[in-house]
């Protein structure tokens, strides 16, 4: 039996080892964290728009579960397909290094967006917003809501993706300013980006800190869950909520006053920018060195800047959603 199989395999290989290597140009792949994430669906939309503007073919890959293992396999498949560029939102900054380096060694341009990979495994990172700005603006927001004093807590995701931890660090730095002396950050809780976990973590926060005045949830799942809990308990005006959320999910809580406003960047633009950056790399308009610049379609001129040990392209400041503009945005994403 074994012989037969080996024989078959060899035969199959011989059969078409000559197999065509039809080279097509202009294949751009987008690998996201997992399927079923509406934020990423919007990123995809922007990415596909950009790619169709430059006349290429966009490939979208989303693993069923948000794991690095699945992303590695997808990268290998993309390498086999000989795509020209891979844009990835990573489930782990470090673990994709070998796979992405292999891709780069085969001449594929690699960039990350949203959730970055380490500088040595990418050429450039497309950053939705400056982490410093994101961190600081959320503290400023919550301070304004609670009137400058009281206890606040952070409801984060798993914080495995580098983002949240970075933002929380900036939040803590912002809090060191003297004007926030009366604000106390009592706890950073982790909802693991799971609905049920985020709900029970929010409830535990409310119970453990009866005097809690505000919650910052720098994650879309967490903020929606917290909004739901605060609404259900009718804590409008007593506990304020802000953070990063999807307009569609947060529309209800912004309008009922639980969260007077919150922030997010525009995922469509993020995808769009990533699409143009990929095109720039493929066309060798840019190489990912600091100081280069390129035109990103409707977004205009963008510059590659130094960030840590690597380089990145900045989308812009986070956008503020409040009762006045939420209705026009909730249908978009």
């Amino acid at each position: 039996m074994k012989k037969i199989i080996i024989g078959m395999l060899v035969l199959l290989m011989l059969f078409t080892v000559v197999g065509a290597a039809a080279a097509q140009s202009g294949k751009y792949a987008l690998v996201v964290k997992s399927a079923g994430n509406p934020f990423m669906e919007k990123v995809r939309e922007g990415f596909e728009n950009a790619i169709s503007e430059v006349g290429g073919e966009a490939i979208y890959k989303a693993p069923a579960e948000p794991t690095v293992e699945a992303q590695i396999i997808m990268i290998e498949q993309l390498i086999t397909q000989r795509v020209d560029a891979i844009a990835i939102s990573a489930n782990d900054p470090e673990a994709l290094r070998p796979a992405l380096q292999k891709a780069m060694s085969r001449g594929i341009k690699v960039l990350s967006l949203d959730s970055s990979v380490n500088p040595n495994s990418r050429m450039v990172h497309v950053n939705q917003a400056d982490p410093e700005q994101i961190g600081r603006v959320q503290i400023q927001g919550i301070a304004e809501m609670i009137g400058g004093e009281g206890q606040i807590a952070v409801l984060s995701a798993t914080s495995q993706a580098t983002n949240q931890n970075l933002w929380i660090d900036w939040m803590k730095k912002e809090l060191e300013k003297p004007e926030y002396d009366n604000i106390e950050l009592v706890k950073v809780a982790y909802g693991d980006d799971l609905r049920d976990k985020s709900v029970s973590e929010t409830e535990a926060l409310l119970k453990s800190y009866p005097d809690l005045k505000g919650i910052i949830a720098p994650t879309t799942v967490g903020i929606a869950a917290a909004g739901k809990v605060l609404t259900d308990r009718d804590l409008v005006g007593e506990v304020y909520l802000t953070g990063l959320g999807l307009p569609s999910e947060m529309a209800e809580y912004i309008k009922n006053g639980v969260s007077p406003w919150m922030y997010l960047w525009n995922p469509i633009d993020l995808g769009y920018l990533a699409g143009y950056a990929a095109e720039g790399l493929v066309a060798e308009e840019i190489t990912g060195e600091a100081g280069e610049s390129f035109t990103a379609g409707d977004l205009g001129e963008k510059e590659v800047i130094k960030a840590g040990e690597g380089t990145e392209i900045m989308l812009g400041a986070p956008f503020r959603f409040d009762a006045d503009n939420i209705d026009q945005w909730k249908e978009v994403y």
Binding site: A35, G36, P38, R195, E203, K207, A224, G227, K228, A251
Partner: protein
């Protein structure tokens, strides 16, 4: 000797009680300990939260108990739950006027269809439950992804009446708790006081005997998975209403929590054994662990290990109690 050991084994009925009592004892000790560390634990508000958050788990556990009694297992319930939740909430987003009861009914129906397919595979085509449900888990989850197109159904797309299913209350008690109490009463009656209910035990205790004594084993097995599916479907609606969000990866892996609760509750994987009262204490312990650990500031990273250890201890201790009370530990198999 037979006489001697059978006297010993006379107390076998009592073992179940001892087990339940020791479980309840453990729950009480745990509660006192937690209360000591965080005085908010034993407040009405927190107990309400605790029960509300455990309600869905408890409903699923009833179905899983029946499946396990027939020597089966159902790994697909998380996927069924997601499918029903997604379909129902998509429906609600299109027809906001849909009556909540209708939504519950539709969700249950979707679950029933899913469950009866599994029932058919297991009962009619003799596919082992673990395989059939593993396969269908993939299929249901995939279908959910496809139907939703990867999109979520969010709070604003759901009507208030739909969301009120799980936020509203009757006589000051949260609807979810009311629904799960209702389900426990119905199934307590069903399992203990109807012929069909008893046949479930018969099939699990000895499928061979059941067959020769004219019990339609195929039908009962099918029924059990269909009920499990229906309850998962119902839970899907409750889940989506509770979290006001339907995602395609909802409740992924939740089946293991449900099985764990059943195991703590003394439902024997070998079949034929298990009581609603035991199940209830298992579910309660599980719910308390979930609720109390964050409250006493146990690092979230310790929670997994603690849960695993508790389950392991629960099953080992119950095995030891069984031995001590003299049940035969011969290697012979029953059946």
């Amino acid at each position: 000797m037979a006489e001697k050991s059978s006297e010993n084994r006379m107390s076998l009925e009592r073992i179940q009680q001892i087990r339940e009592f020791s479980l309840i004892g453990f729950i009480i000790i745990l509660s006192i300990f937690v209360q000591f560390r965080n005085s908010n634990f034993l407040t009405m508000a927190n107990l309400d939260d605790l029960l509300t958050n455990t309600a869905i788990l408890s409903i699923l556990a009833v179905g899983m108990m029946m499946v396990i009694i027939t020597r089966g297992i159902d790994l697909s319930i998380g996927a069924t739950l997601a499918l029903s939740g997604m379909l129902t909430s998509m429906l609600v987003s299109v027809y906001p006027a849909l009556h909540p009861l209708a939504a519950l009914l539709i969700g249950t129906l979707i679950g029933f269809v899913s469950g009866s397919i599994i029932g058919l595979l297991v009962a009619k085509f003799n596919i082992l439950p673990i395989i059939a449900t593993l396969g269908m888990m993939n299929v249901f989850r995939g279908i959910t992804f496809l139907i939703s197109g990867g999109k979520w159904v969010s709070a604003y797309q759901m009507s208030d009446s739909f969301k009120s299913i799980s936020t509203g209350s009757i006589l000051g008690i949260n609807n979810l708790i009311v629904i799960s109490i209702f389900i426990y009463l119905v199934f307590y009656y069903f399992i203990n006081y109807t012929r069909t209910g008893r046949k479930i035990y018969a099939v699990g205790s000895s499928p061979k005997s059941a067959k020769v004594s004219g019990i339609n084993v195929t039908k009962i097995t099918w029924l059990v998975y269909s009920i499990m599916g229906s309850l998962a479907g119902l839970s899907g609606v409750l889940w989506v209403s509770k979290f006001a969000s339907a995602q395609s990866n909802t409740a992924s892996g939740y089946e293991l929590n449900v099985i764990a609760a059943c195991v703590i509750g003394g439902i024997s994987i070998a079949g034929g054994e298990g009581k609603v009262t035991g199940l209830l204490s298992g579910v309660l312990l599980y719910g308390i662990l979930e609720n109390a650990l964050p409250m006493i500031n146990v690092s979230p990273f310790w929670q997994n290990a603690i849960q695993g250890a508790v389950i392991l201890i629960a099953v080992v201790v119950s095995a030891l109690i069984k031995r001590k009370t003299g049940s035969s530990n011969k290697i012979r198999r029953e059946d």
